[in-house]
Each structure stands twice: as structure tokens, then as C-alpha cells.
């Protein structure tokens, strides 16, 4: 037995025993200082004056830094340098860092924070997308993706529908809040343990802010307690603040954000306001779509343009629309800069097309699943996206048919209708929704990865790669890939903490591409090592055996052995071969590298081949809605999801289920509201409600699509998983809408939003009842 496809998470035993070490659990010497951030309480204001004297006098306080204490650049924007490390003379959102404090205890830091005096002169603040749109302040020029002629498409359509959809943001709500521990070393060196998805960027920004070279900064992360995109750029901030304080005090400094501060200070999934006009025919086929996606970027650029780009590229989801015109804007507001969150714009882009299909079905009095099927991308034709990439290896029709049958959709639809006819105060609803998701960073150069694989004299292997572990099981998969490639047991392979000194210039572990990119880099390193070891082994075999000499290309690494496939009696254990290689003065460490082939995107023209391939999946959810309270129960959910040839089915199932539930949370109970001054109202789990165990479907059937390896040569023909299943949550959102619609016997269109909180649900029911009364 070499390496099973279905090993448990490499840290599972450490998780369940509490032995897994997160940054906040690390043992630090008694020199440790606790860092704390003093942040703006105003959404937009001028800083008139401040006084730190009393705060500095608090016992145990070692430093309070302002923007003037920054040796390098006062900038921490990841793409565009428009985000200050600490405010200068103006603040532009509540939660923006103004000062940073280091003290011996948390209590002392809090006391100092309370003694800081600051006076603001409030300025006008922009707190909604509508307000931002009326003031006309976009982050970058408007983006367009166009194909065909929408006016012609509308002219050819039997029906025209216009509308808009408000799509809410979402707090990542990783269990482990943002945390970093910075330790000063010799000379100017800083070692920062940072809960980051992007160690290389964290390293680069620390260096730039502290005025150091990148060689002087080392960033390490063993594991994060969840991230979901929330630590793609936002992890940089605490790492920079902690490093500044460590540099200044010459002592280790740890900053861990308190939950409420984390929710107030850090960026979230962008909320969107999507406007659309669509032309369709009586058979449900969509002929033309004109849509504008408006994102709330917050106070800085961060990743907003990339998120917007992905939203635009997913505005048609799984549907072929001949004439399409997609416009995208990201608008500045005085809120924390919004950022990455699993799906990265995909969910916000797809929400309105799924809503559109649902409306069309109601207008035409047809089952929405049929409308979806009628519009899916084709296999041979009708298969080009609005940005001109052909949807190859299209699994949509196959998944649709298989799930339609396995979920018993048609029979259940009939029984739901029957139930609804008999019940006034409870209604059932069901929806069947698809996801097509492009895999690769749309910023093409980011699609690269490196690895460093070391084989030690005892035959054990230490894998370093550029990806980070946030719970998704990337390290488990890297371990499996190294073990498979070297033909040894997974127990002989260990994956190291991610460290910038081992693999340089890596990309964020994001875009679902962690396994695709790093897996290939690990394989590349393993291939190099195998070649070197194979030469040594051939030498050994050819010394020992007469006859046809062994050649590299015939050697097989399997079951902890190296064998000559042409002469099966010639075999040597992997461990012995490694030792012989060492004695033969052969290098047993190798770097690996990978770049995704054939991807490019022309932003000017909105065309290209931005994705290496597409992932597909579908879900059917049935709910029971209490019409009077707006509470619902997820009765049954069936999922069929495409991960190609899975590297690890156990982990992939976990990603699909977890993604679906996270999507359901976004679509239902996870609501973000701000008061008139720009204070976030839902800043703790008291008022910000992620799903709990009671929200899980009673009957939850998740399956991976079988016998469909990836059509492109990805690592072991697998497909990315992380993000796409989040959008399966639309099945629950639209099932709720279907139940609401049943109140008016599906004759009236409910006024609907995302998230569908019970307040939204009750208002929608009210609107349907009002419409029904008017029509009598």
C-alpha cells in the first residue's frame, strides 16, 4: 500500500486532541509584548489633534506608534498602493488603524488605548452603493465584456424583463481571528508568524513598510484556523503592525484581533447591486442580457477589480446567451475595503442570472429546472463564453440528467405541489441550480508555483511548497502527491510549514488553485529527484547484473521500491537507493516549478482564455417554510459535483458540503447592516449568524461526479474544489423563493433579495399576498 486516495487530513489527530499549534498557541519567551490597534471611530473625518502622553505613561506600555514612526512606505495595498498602514491626517472608514500599541499585557494595552485622546472633524461619508453611484466615484474605469448585439437580441425576443437585485456581502468568519507574531532577529531581520494565505505578499509588504529588503523578512505559517479569502490580503495588516512594533521595541510582539474588532476592521465579501435587462422567448431561451454589476469596494482598491472581473465572467453562469453586454463598476465607499471571499465575485455575478431564470420560469409558468436546461452551454455548439473562451469538456448536461434522476426531482415536485395545495401556513419549495466556475487566477502571471522537496538519508521526505493550509487539506494532498510520485508510503512524507525562505515569490493560496499549482510544482521536484536517484540505481543494477543494462526510463518507483520494469528481479528499496545516492555524492534536494499553460486575458477587449478549465456542479434543495415566521427547514439536499479524478475524495466531499452550507449562510441568515454613521451593526456572532448544525439538511446527499477525469492534464487529472460549491447554496435561496411563490400559487413574483433573512421572506410573502388581493 503506497498512498491511498482517501487518507484523513494530515492534522486530523492534532485537531481532535487540541495538539495542533496555531499562532496564538505558540510558546514565546517572557519578552513577548501584546500589540493592539487603536482604530478610527469615524467613517470619514479629519484628524484635528491627538495626545498620546497619558497613554504612554501607562505601566507596561513599551511603544505607541503613529504613521510618523514608519521607516519605509506607509502603504499596505496589495495591488494598488492606496491603503495606509496608519492614518495620516484623515480617516476613511471605521476600523482604520490610527495608532498601534505594544504593552506587556493585554490589560495594559487596553488601558493605554482608552487614554489616547483624539479629536475628529467629521466629513461627509458614503455608506451605500446607491450613494456612491450618485457621487460617481469609481475605483478604476468601468470594465466591459460584450458579445453580439444586445439591441438586436432584444428585438428578436418575445419578452423583455428588467430589474435589479441587491446582493449582500458576507463576513468570512474564520474561527481563528487575524493573528500574527513578529520576532526580531539579528541585525534588521524579522521573522513573522502570520495567519496569511499569501506569505510572499505578507513578506513583501512587511519589508516595504519596515524599510527592509525582502531577504531580511521571513514569513511562516503552519496552519490557519480558517481563512476563506479573508486572509488573502487582510492577514497582511496585523503582520505589518506586529512587525513594526517588534522592530521598534526589539521584542516579540503578537497581535490577535478580538472578534468584534476583526469584524469591524477587516474587509468582507463585496455587496453588489446588479441591474439587468433580459430578452427571452416563450420556450424559455434567453436571447440577450444587458447587465451592470455594481460592487461596493470600500475605501481602497484591495482586490476589488479582480473580484469584479470574476463577477463579470460569471454573470452568465452556466448559460449560453448569444447577445450579452456586461458592465462592471467598483465604487468607493467609507467602509473597510472589501476583499476576497470564497467565490471571489463569482457568487455575486451569478446571483442575478439565477434570479432571472427563476423569474422567467414563473412568467412562463414552467419549472425553473427546465428553463435552466434549455439555456445550458452546449457540447458542440453554443459553447463560447462572452469573453470568447470555449467551454470545453462541458459536464453540464450530464450532471443535470444524473442529478434529475438521483434526486427524484419530478416526483418530488408533484408531491410538493400537492402539499402546498393542502396547507396555508406552511409551504414547501424546491430549486435545482447549476454552477460553472472558471479555474485559474484571472491575473494570468499569478498562475505559478514553486516547491522544494528534500529527501533525507533515512529515506524520509520533507515537502515545502508555496501553498498554505487553512483547513482545506492542501498539505494532505501535497503529501499524497509526493508519496505517489516517489512511490513511497505517505507516512514517509511530511509537509513543512509554509515559509518564504524555502520557496520564494509564491502566489496566494486562492482561486481554488492550490492543489493544481503546487501539486504540479511538487511533482516537478519529485521528477527531478527520481531522475537523479534513477541514475544511481541504474549504476547499481548494471554493476550487479549482467545482461541488458537497466536504463532510467524503465525504472518504476512503487511500493517503497525501485524496480526495472524490463528486468523485474532488479529491485532496490527506496531507502537504500537514497542512501546510495548520498554516498554517490548526488543532491537529494530539488526545487520544482509550474506555470499553468495557455492562459491569457485581454482586459481592454474583455476577451481571452483566462481559465485553464471549468468546474461544474449542481444542487437540488427542498425546504419547508413557515409562512408566518419566515423560518425554514432544509429538508433534503442532493449535490452532484465535478472534481475530475479526485486526489482525495474524503477531503473533496468535505469541501463540497462545507461550501454549500457556507453559500446557504450567505443566501439566508448572514446579514450585514450599518448604522447612519457607518458603524457595522453585526459585529459579533450575537448578531451575525452563520449556519449552525440545525441548519444542515436533514437528508444531505453529496456525490462526486464519477468517471470524468479532467479534460486537461492537471495534477492527476483532478479538478479544483474549494470555491465552486459555495454557489450551490443558490439552490436553498431559490427553494425558499419557490415556497414563498407558492403562497400566491406561483402567479406573482415575490420581491426578493439576497440574503433572504426571515424579514425579507416575510415581506416577500406579504407582497405576494397583496398582489393576490389586488388581482381579485
Amino acid at each position: 500500500m503506497t498512498s491511498s486516495k482517501n487518507v484523513a487530513h494530515e492534522s486530523a489527530k492534532l485537531h481532535v486532541t487540541g495538539e495542533a499549534i496555531y499562532i496564538d498557541d505558540m510558546h514565546v519567551n517572557d519578552q513577548l509584548l501584546i500589540g493592539r490597534v487603536f482604530y478610527s471611530k469615524e467613517a470619514h473625518a479629519e484628524i484635528c489633534s491627538y495626545d498620546l502622553k497619558e497613554a504612554l505613561a501607562v505601566n507596561g506600555v513599551h511603544a505607541i506608534l503613529t504613521h510618523e514612526d514608519i521607516p519605509g512606505e506607509n502603504q499596505m495595498g496589495p495591488v494598488v498602493h492606496d491603503e495606509l498602514v496608519m492614518a495620516i491626517d484623515e480617516v476613511s472608514f471605521i476600523g482604520q488603524a490610527v495608532f498601534i500599541i505594544a504593552a506587556e499585557t493585554e490589560a495594559q494595552a487596553i488601558e493605554a488605548e482608552r487614554k489616547i485622546k483624539i479629536e475628529y472633524k467629521p466629513l461627509d461619508a458614503i455608506l451605500s452603493i446607491e450613494d456612491a453611484m450618485s457621487k460617481g466615484h469609481t475605483v478604476q474605469p468601468t470594465r466591459y465584456i460584450k458579445r453580439g448585439d444586445v439591441e438586436k437580441g432584444f428585438a428578436q425576443s418575445e419578452f423583455i424583463l428588467e430589474g435589479s437585485l441587491k446582493v449582500g456581502g458576507q463576513e468570512q468568519w474564520y474561527l481563528e481571528t487575524q493573528v500574527a507574531l513578529a520576532v526580531p532577529g539579528e541585525e534588521r531581520d524579522i521573522l513573522c508568524y502570520s495567519s496569511t494565505q499569501n506569505p510572499s505578499e505578507t513578506q513583501a509588504l512587511i519589508a516595504e513598510v519596515l524599510g527592509l529588503s525582502k531577504m531580511e523578512v521571513e514569513v511562516q505559517i503552519r496552519r490557519m484556523g480558517g481563512a476563506f479569502g479573508g486572509k488573502e490580503t487582510q492577514g497582511n495588516h496585523v503582520a505589518i503592525w506586529a512587525s513594526l512594533l517588534a522592530q521598534k521595541t526589539k521584542r516579540p510582539v503578537k497581535i490577535r484581533l478580538f472578534r468584534d474588532d476583526d469584524q469591524k476592521m477587516t474587509g468582507k465579501r463585496h455587496r453588489y447591486l446588479n441591474e439587468f435587462k433580459v430578452g427571452y422567448n416563450g420556450d424559455g431561451s434567453i436571447k440577450a442580457l444587458q447587465t451592470t454589476l455594481n460592487a461596493d469596494a470600500g475605501s481602497a482598491t484591495d482586490l476589488s477589480m479582480a473580484v469584479l472581473e470574476r463577477a463579470m465572467m460569471h454573470a452568465e453562469n452556466a448559460y449560453y446567451i448569444p447577445h450579452i453586454d456586461i458592465t462592471g463598476n467598483a465604487w468607493y465607499t467609507n467602509l473597510p475595503s472589501n476583499t476576497a471571499f470564497r467565490g471571489f465575485g463569482g457568487p455575486q455575478g451569478m446571483a442575478s442570472i439565477e434570479q432571472i431564470v427563476d423569474i422567467i420560469a414563473r412568467k412562463l409558468n414552467k419549472d425553473a429546472a427546465e428553463i435552466r436546461k434549455a439555456n445550458f452551454y452546449g457540447i458542440e455548439d453554443r459553447n463560447t463564453t462572452p469573453y470568447d473562451q470555449v467551454v470545453e469538456h462541458n459536464r453540464l448536461p450530464h450532471i443535470y440528467q444524473e442529478l434529475l434522476e438521483s434526486s427524484d426531482y419530478k416526483a418530488r415536485r408533484a408531491s410538493i405541489n400537492d402539499y402546498n395545495a393542502k396547507n396555508e401556513f406552511f409551504k414547501k419549495g424546491m430549486a435545482f441550480t447549476p454552477v460553472k466556475f472558471g479555474i485559474s487566477f484571472t491575473t494570468s502571471f499569478l498562475n505559478q508555483a514553486g516547491a522544494l522537496v528534500n529527501i533525507y538519508k533515512d529515506g524520509t521526505v520533507l515537502v515545502n511548497h508555496g501553498g498554505t493550509e487553512m483547513g482545506q487539506g492542501l498539505h494532505t494532498k501535497m503529501r499524497q502527491i509526493a508519496a505517489i510520485e516517489l512511490g513511497i508510503d505517505v507516512s514517509k512524507v511530511k509537509v513543512n510549514a509554509t515559509n518564504t525562505s524555502k520557496v520564494p515569490n509564491t502566489s496566494a493560496t486562492a482561486a481554488s488553485a492550490g492543489t493544481d499549482l503546487n501539486g504540479m510544482a511538487v511533482k516537478d521536484a519529485a521528477d527531478k529527484l527520481k531522475l537523479r536517484i534513477a541514475e544511481v540505481v541504474c549504476g547499481i543494477f548494471n554493476d550487479k547484473y549482467s545482461g541488458e543494462p537497466s536504463v532510467n526510463s524503465n525504472l518504476i518507483f512503487l511500493n517503497n521500491e525501485i524496480k526495472d520494469s524490463a528486468n523485474p528481479e532488479r529491485a532496490i528499496s527506496f531507502q537504500e537507493a537514497v542512501l546510495k545516492s548520498y554516498l554517490g555524492q548526488v543532491s537529494l534536494g530539488a526545487t520544482g516549478f509550474y506555470k499553468t499553460p495557455d492562459i491569457w486575458f485581454d482586459r481592454e477587449n474583455g476577451t481571452g482564455h483566462p481559465y485553464y478549465y471549468f468546474s461544474f456542479g449542481m444542487a437540488v434543495t427542498e425546504v419547508l417554510l413557515d409562512v408566518l415566521t419566515g423560518h425554514y427547514m432544509n429538508l433534503r439536499t442532493d449535490i452532484l459535483h465535478d472534481v475530475g479524478s479526485s486526489v482525495n475524495e474524503r477531503l473533496d466531499i468535505g469541501q463540497v458540503e462545507g461550501g454549500y452550507i457556507q453559500g446557504v449562510g450567505w443566501c439566508t441568515t448572514e446579514e450585514l447592516k450599518w448604522d447612519a454613521k457607518g458603524n457595522l451593526l453585526n459585529h459579533s456572532p450575537d448578531t451575525y449568524k452563520i449556519p449552525n448544525i440545525q441548519d444542515v439538511p436533514d437528508d444531505f446527499r453529496t456525490n462526486l461526479l464519477k468517471n470524468h477525469p479532467n479534460g486537461v492534464p492537471s495534477i492527476h487529472r483532478s479538478k479544483a474544489v474549494a470555491e465552486p460549491p459555495l454557489m450551490l447554496g443558490f439552490a436553498c435561496w431559490l427553494a425558499i423563493k419557490d415556497a414563498i411563490s407558492a403562497v400566491g400559487e406561483h402567479k406573482y413574483e415575490p420581491v426578493f433579495e439576497l440574503p433572504a433573512t426571515n424579514e425579507v421572506i416575510l415581506k416577500a410573502i406579504d407582497s405576494v399576498q397583496d398582489a393576490a388581493k389586488l388581482s381579485i
Binding site: G18, G226, F258, H631
Partner: protein, 474 residues
């Protein structure tokens, strides 16, 4: 006595709280996280909403048995461990020798990032060691207080069913060693005085009342699910505290002919289990009250005395016409639940008074009682709107009706106009719908993080219709 004595993973621990680094309001979570080898427990929110800090607490009962419960250690002050047994994830197994719940969690892939996992493990460990095997509903209820952001819970549910849901569990003699250790602790009243704080933990009601009269500004604390937040969230210094959690007289339950007298110190989980046979509307509310971790800490008296307009107990107790007995050194007096609250977090209680007990009369045959709670998330959420409704029907006519709402005003409040409209009328849908429209006169709700004003108005109306509908089946 200044030192807190308790058992931690089968070892006796004594911590002096009078001179730092720990004080009387140091939380159990803070204490453990400051120890080098007890960092399995995690802080996720510091407000009892996520369960990452879940641990198991054992209490020696009067019958000599040890009773275990799961609880949120972020809310509990160190002195509350006095005389009790604390079990952390380090105490149940390690990676070379997993406990059955840990093994099940590995086998079902119940952990992804792992940060919430020790908390889930502790809730499951508590379930595993209960006498009865856990049903699916019991598992769900027990894990409601543990949030996971990664897995989608199915795998965790499977792990719990595979371990705690089995008849055959290796949990005999689980507490035999603990009994001996707990007996040996020999704890007495605590009186901790530091230069900033005082903390008293009396063991009799008389002693509690006399401490209260000597310290008129002391805050009363029992489970700390509300007061604990002042420390963990506002970082406030609580100067003087009287902890009544060890006063057994406050935990008595007396079943009488006319009703049940519940000690105010009874925890909400014990109340939930007990009231099932007598007061179904009360139980319905308790079923969606917080999480099990919270219900094990929070008390009946605490929820009443905090007088929050969104408290879950007041509407339903008012519907039952419960009567509260207040006690001070001067003696006892009775107050009806419907007169108890006077304003936003204001009550008729005087300084030095405690709620001693709550008497709930059995409803008459013609009385219809229901409770409702609407919250953004069905479970472990605070009410957006809650209600306790009481209907007295006589020959099809409304003899009397009490429509008590939470979340609709600055205090728990009756719908006077709607009630007046319904009295002496037939209990018909038409009359109820007329009353529903009068609710807009009764209430001017606010918009907040939980809902807008309009949403609250709709909820209040709908609940009345729901009540009418459900009384049709009584």
C-alpha cells in the same frame, strides 16, 4: 478563603486569586490559555456564541453522584470552578491514544481547519459519558452551541452518531475517581478580596443575603452569561460580586397542587427538562433558548432579573401568570410576573433583593397557552420578536386574553389595543385579523441589527395569526 480549589483533568489545583496574575473575574478560558500545555481550548468570540471554548464541568450532587455538563469557558469566572471538576481536551486523550469521540471525528473527517474542533470534542465527550445513548435530536441540540465554518456539519453529526449514538460505550466508572477527588476538596465559602475587587461565594441563602446587605452595590452573579460579557466584551472591572451559584436553596423544585415552584437558581437546561410535563409553552421557548452550553450556565432568576426587552423567559412566564418570590434580609414578598418589569432593564426589585423562586400555576382546561420566538437563525439566536400568549375561552368567547410581546418595545409589553378588541368576542379568524391590524397602535418597534421596524411589525401580526391557528388544534 482566597484560593479556588478544583480538579483539573484529575489533578487537584489551587489558585490564589488575591494577588495576581489571576483575579476573581479571570475567566476559565483566560486561565487555561495562560498555561503552557492547556492551549487546546480556543477563543472564538468571547461571548458564548461559538463554543470553541467548550469544556466539561463536573459537580458533586447531593446524592453523591457527579453530574457533568458542557459549558462555554469564556464566560465563567475562575471562582465558579470552586469545588468542581474541570475537564479539558488534554484530559481525555492524545494523538497516540484517542478517545472514541476523537477517533470518530478523525474517521468521519469532522475537522478541517481544526480551530472549532476541541470545542466540538468536549460537547461530544459530555454526550458520550451520559447514561443514555444520544438520539439524533439530542446530538443536534447538544452541538447547537458549537459553530464550525468549514465542514457543513454533516461529518461532525456522523462522528457524534458513531460515538455517542451507540448503546455500547465504554464510559463505566467514568466518575468514580472524580467522586473521591471532589469529596477530598472540602470546599467552603469563598471570600476573595483584592485591592481592586471583592468576590463572595456563599453556600446558604442567609449568608448570601447578609453579604448583600453589607455590600449594597455588589452585583449578583450566577451563571455569568450576561454579566460575564461586561468583562469579556467591554473589558469592565466588576468591583464587587456575590456569586449565588452554590446556594442550594435556590435550586429547589416543589410540585404543588396548583402549580410548580421553581427555585430561581435552577439552570435553564434543568428547567427545560423538568417543565416538559407541566408547561409545554415554557419548554417550547427553552428549546430555542441559547445553546445547551448557555442553558447549563444561565438561570431562571437571572433571565428574569436582567429584565431585557428581548429576554426569552418574561413573555412566556407572564402568559402563565407566574408569581415571583423576592427575598432580602427583611423578608419575602410576592410580585406577579406581569407587574415585575417597569421599564428598559428596570424592575420592581429593591437593592439587596434576590428572586428566590418562581411559581407557575397550572393552566385551567379552558386556558390556551403558546410561546413563540422569531430570530434570524432558528437556533442559538436572540429573539427578533418573541411572544407569550394566553387565551381564556368560555363558550367560544374570549373571556380574557394576554398578548405579551418581547422585542417590540423597550420592555416586554402587552398588546393592550389588540387584547381589548378581542375580549368578549368570538375567537374567530376575522376577529383575530382585526386585532392584528391594531398591533400597530400597540407598538412602535425599532430597527436594529436583527430586523427593520417593518419586519418586526409583520412578525408580531403573524404570530397572533399563528396563535389563532394553533388553538384550533388544542
Amino acid at each position: 478563603m482566597n484560593s479556588v480549589k478544583f480538579i483539573l483533568n484529575k489533578k487537584i489545583i489551587s489558585v490564589d486569586l488575591s494577588q495576581g496574575p489571576y483575579g476573581p473575574t479571570t475567566t476559565v478560558l483566560e486561565y487555561l490559555r495562560s498555561q503552557p500545555h492547556l492551549k487546546g481550548v480556543k477563543e472564538g468570540c468571547a461571548e458564548g456564541d461559538c463554543g470553541a471554548c467548550t469544556l466539561v464541568l463536573g459537580d458533586l450532587q447531593s446524592n453523591g453522584e457527579v453530574r457533568y455538563r458542557n459549558f462555554d469557558s469564556c464566560l465563567v469566572f475562575l471562582p465558579m470552578l470552586h469545588g468542581k471538576e474541570l475537564i479539558t481536551v488534554e484530559g481525555i486523550g492524545d494523538s497516540s491514544c484517542l478517545h472514541p469521540v476523537q477517533k470518530a471525528m478523525v474517521d468521519t473527517d469532522g475537522s478541517q481547519c481544526g480551530y472549532c474542533t476541541p470545542g466540538f470534542i468536549m460537547s461530544m465527550y459530555y454526550l458520550y459519558n451520559k447514561k443514555e445513548k444520544a438520539s439524533r435530536d439530542e446530538i443536534k441540540d447538544c452541538l447547537t452551541g458549537n459553530l464550525c465554518r468549514c465542514t457543513g456539519y454533516r461529518s461532525i453529526m456522523d462522528a457524534a452518531e458513531q460515538s455517542c449514538g451507540q448503546e455500547k460505550r465504554d464510559n463505566n466508572n467514568f466518575s468514580s475517581q472524580s467522586k473521591k477527588l471532589l469529596d477530598s476538596l472540602g470546599v467552603t465559602d469563598l471570600a476573595i478580596e483584592t485591592n481592586k475587587q471583592s468576590y463572595y461565594q456563599p453556600r446558604t441563602l442567609d449568608s448570601a443575603l447578609s453579604i448583600m446587605s453589607l455590600n449594597p452595590h455588589a452585583r449578583i452573579v450566577n451563571g455569568a452569561t450576561d454579566l460575564g460579557l461586561a468583562v469579556t466584551k467591554q473589558k469592565a472591572l466588576l468591583e464587587s460580586l456575590v456569586d449565588i451559584s452554590c446556594v442550594n436553596e435556590l435550586k429547589e423544585i416543589n410540585i404543588r397542587e396548583e402549580g410548580v415552584e421553581y427555585g430561581a437558581g435552577i439552570n435553564l437546561e434543568d428547567l427545560r427538562l423538568h417543565c416538559a410535563d407541566y408547561f409545554p409553552a415554557l419548554q417550547a421557548m427553552l428549546n430555542v433558548f441559547g445553546s445547551r452550553q448557555i442553558r447549563y450556565l444561565g438561570t431562571l432568576g437571572g433571565n428574569i432579573a436582567s429584565a431585557s426587552p428581548i429576554g426569552d423567559m418574561p413573555p412566556v412566564l407572564m402568559a402563565y401568570e407566574a408569581i415571583y418570590t423576592l427575598v432580602s434580609e427583611l423578608g419575602e414578598r410576592k410580585v406577579t410576573s406581569r407587574e415585575f418589569v417597569t421599564g428598559y432593564r428596570q424592575t420592581v426589585m429593591k437593592e439587596n433583593e434576590l428572586i428566590k423562586s418562581v411559581f407557575i400555576p397550572f393552566p385551567k382546561n379552558n386556558h390556551h397557552l403558546k410561546s413563540y420566538k422569531i430570530s434570524k437563525r432558528k437556533d442559538l439566536d436572540i429573539s427578533t420578536v418573541s411572544a407569550g400568549f394566553q387565551l381564556k375561552l368560555k363558550e367560544g368567547l374570549v373571556e380574557d386574553i394576554a398578548l405579551i410581546y418581547g422585542g417590540m418595545a423597550a420592555q416586554t409589553k402587552r398588546a393592550d389595543n389588540a387584547e381589548a378588541h378581542l375580549r368578549n368576542k368570538a375567537w374567530t379568524r376575522t376577529n383575530v385579523e382585526e386585532a392584528m391590524s391594531l398591533l400597530s397602535k400597540d407598538f412602535t418597534p425599532i430597527s436594529d441589527a436583527r430586523s427593520g421596524e417593518e419586519g418586526r411589525r409583520l412578525m408580531a401580526r403573524n404570530l397572533l395569526l399563528k396563535f389563532w391557528n394553533e388553538t384550533q388544534y388544542d
